[in-house]
Symmetry: C2
Subunit: 395 residues, 2 copies
DNA sequence: GCGGTTTGTCAGCGTCAAGGACTAAATAAC
DNA sequence: GTTATTTAGTCCTTGACGCTGACAAACCGC
């Protein structure tokens, strides 16, 4: 595991990782292909691949359907990540429930569990459920638990990255100071990595979803709370203290409602799930849900149109400063509220186009997330996969 | 120069770079010290150092004053970067003039030239001056031109990082599309690296100035234009298109003055050098300079106090969103306007403390820059040094 | 079946960093 | 003054690594 930083074995480790990442990205690639892609020699790749095959990380895929080279030549042996070579678990702890995903190393989902539970006030119950569901999924998939390399956990709270514990959060109040990683590691017997849910949502949309190829993107999670995740220069940016992305607490209304953070007029007080639905309390009753709003929009209800577009403009307003400073290629809108679709996106686009200085405004694309509910859990999968590649495969 | 990515020689190159960087950071460190700091073995370090000594990159410093170890033992031989081993040039092209610095590889300034010239409309004159001054400085320092490894250039305009050319800019209108790097390379015969001045100011304050140790910082350059540079996760962040940091064009006043970017109420229209001094037109005449404002402040003039504090608050307002999203450790205020000092800083602090959500607000420090006028040129030095280390020493 | 072509492996070689033994140069104790 | 001790730096050997070049394998078209 640990090794001298500049030694020969570290070089081999780096090359191993290079090979695995290449296969991960390209899928079904031959040894020669890897050599061309990485710049390593065929011999070296062969040697590394031999190791990885022996360890069960890669497999030689079936040759059928392989494209013969023009003019003949020995057909290449396509290599893929071994689907039975291992898997990872991804968990999303949100205030209303828990989602657990089981996926192979390339991010293909093999199983899923969702459980409604009042996560806020029951850390022990929640963690117990997570552990049970996780082990259950692995068993149901017929997988060897020893080849499940890790678990990622997305949590709706800022994370102290060093200690893995949660900082104060009014969403998960009873969880403050709980070391989720340690507790879950004890239960499931594998490395557990914890991250903020908005950050992991960003990672997911970037890896699997609407943000593919955009190495600088902002993911906006419009849910009960409002958060954001940043991919900057092709890497997840978590900030010095691990809680970057407090989009929800940017003031957007002068002298607006008081927010749970103590300030006034925060974005969250205007476009949070509850704030948004409560706008309809007078006409549609106090129990209006986001699904109701979607239905109204489908029926071309002008009030709903107006409200969601306004919400989008508020999001845009909060984003202007950040977009001017960071010049992201893409803004991806996710979270439950994103289900309302177009009018919201139009609102965001409208505000950005109007307030950003000319060159930048045209370079930012605003899109809806493609992963829906599962974005954060998929991000947890990606987190676990990254750590797995880095730690377990590098040896 | 170019080499296989995973080969043995690449490993040696990386280790070379590691050694040089360690010496750069620590200064006067022995071989054993380097070994401890890098994790390499004494043998390896010795071998690398031998190469670097032979090439003149390092020198064995004088042993006098060396601290003998407690309990005796052979005294260590301190190593330093060879002051005569090479130098780099740093240039700042601003609208009103040109600054050229000559420094050794550790950032020590060996010579300086400043020339007032209307840079905006005379690309050829300006570049000719830069080349003359640069070669002159090298000769005056008694240095061998062959051991000057590169030149960095800070420019008040967005840079297309790929092509090294300038994008449209209303500050340097006649420079649009000019390939500064290529033109200067032809004149001075060394690699030239071009960067945005605010970005390089950030790099300078982080490397040499008020931002040392803060791996996440925002540098605010309050000059005629208003720009910003970002250090994120210990690296300069330039954005996808190389023009991140458009702080000056964040709207801060609803329906304010029209800005040169086409929008209304941009930060630049309120706190730019001209905007700020023109506030005093009625009472102090139209030719008020920033020095006059400083004098007024020194005399406890209440109007000046008020104006500068308000300017600070506007800067703070523009920064709130970014600070909430990025959680920087430090905000460094530089540029000519920063000379007004305390009331401006207090204004920024006031606004951030009031509008940032509680945990973040306390974690950000707002400081004045320590490098003054020379920050951007020093950043150009840092840029050239980085590139030098990476390209020339890695061989 | 036979040359042509591409894939993958094998053996030999040069390079690299690490570990241990050794020399160099100082201090501390006697 | 001499000897033991401690730390710094070098020399030599060793094991691992990746690359080059040669060779076998597997397919094409004729």
């Amino acid at each position: 595991m640990s090794e001298a930083p500049g030694s020969l074995t570290s070089l081999r480790s780096r090359n191993r990782l290079l090979v695995v990442e290449t296969v991960q990205r390209r899928g079904r690639i031959s040894r020669v292909g890897i050599a061309r892609a990485t710049g390593l020699s065929r011999t070296t790749v062969s040697s590394l691949v031999a190791d990885l095959l022996a360890e069960g990380v890669l497999t030689e895929a079936d040759g059928t359907g392989r494209r013969a080279s023009p003019g003949g030549g020995r057909p290449a042996t396509p290599l893929t990540l071994n689907p039975e070579g291992g898997g990872v678990l991804g968990v999303h702890l949100r205030h209303a429930g828990i989602r657990v995903l089981f996926a192979d190393l390339s991010g293909g989902v093999l199983g899923e569990r969702y459980h409604e539970i009042d996560v806020d006030h029951r850390p022990d119950d929640a963690l117990a459920y997570v552990a049970d569901a996780a082990l259950d999924l692995v068993a149901a998939g017929g997988h060897d638990a020893g080849r499940v390399f890790g678990m990622g956990v997305a949590v709706s709270a800022p994370i102290r990255s060093r200690s893995h514990t949660l900082r104060t959060s009014s969403v998960l109040a009873d969880w403050t100071g709980v070391d989720i990683a340690a507790r879950l590691e004890a239960r499931v017997g594998m490395p557990v990595h914890v991250g903020n849910d908005a950050n992991l949502g960003a990672l997911a949309e970037w890896t699997f979803g609407a943000g593919q190829g955009a190495d600088d993107l902002i993911y906006v999670m419009l849910s009960d709370g409002v958060g954001a995740g940043l991919i900057l220069g092709g890497e997840l940016y978590e900030g010095a203290t691990g809680s970057a992305g407090e989009l929800g607490h940017i003031p957007v209304v002068d002298g607006g409602y008081v927010c749970r953070c103590g300030n006034r007029g925060c974005l969250e007080t205007v476009v949070g799930l509850r704030a948004l639905t409560s706008t309809f309390a007078h006409t549609r009753g106090p129990d209006t849900t986001i699904a109701d709003v979607v239905a109204l929009l489908a029926a071309d209800d002008p009030g709903a149109q107006r409200v969601t577009a306004d919400a989008g403009r508020m999001v845009g307003r909060a984003l202007v400063g950040i977009c001017a400073m960071l010049e992201p290629r893409r803004v991806v809108i996710g979270g439950e509220v994103a289900a309302v679709g177009r009018p919201l996106l139009e609102g965001v686009r409208d505000m950005l186009a109007r307030q950003l200085p000319p060159p930048i405004g045209q370079e930012v694309t605003v899109t809806a997330g493609r992963l829906g509910d599962r974005a954060e859990a998929l991000g947890a999968i990606a987190l676990a996969t990254q750590s797995t590649s880095a730690h377990l495969l590098t040896r």
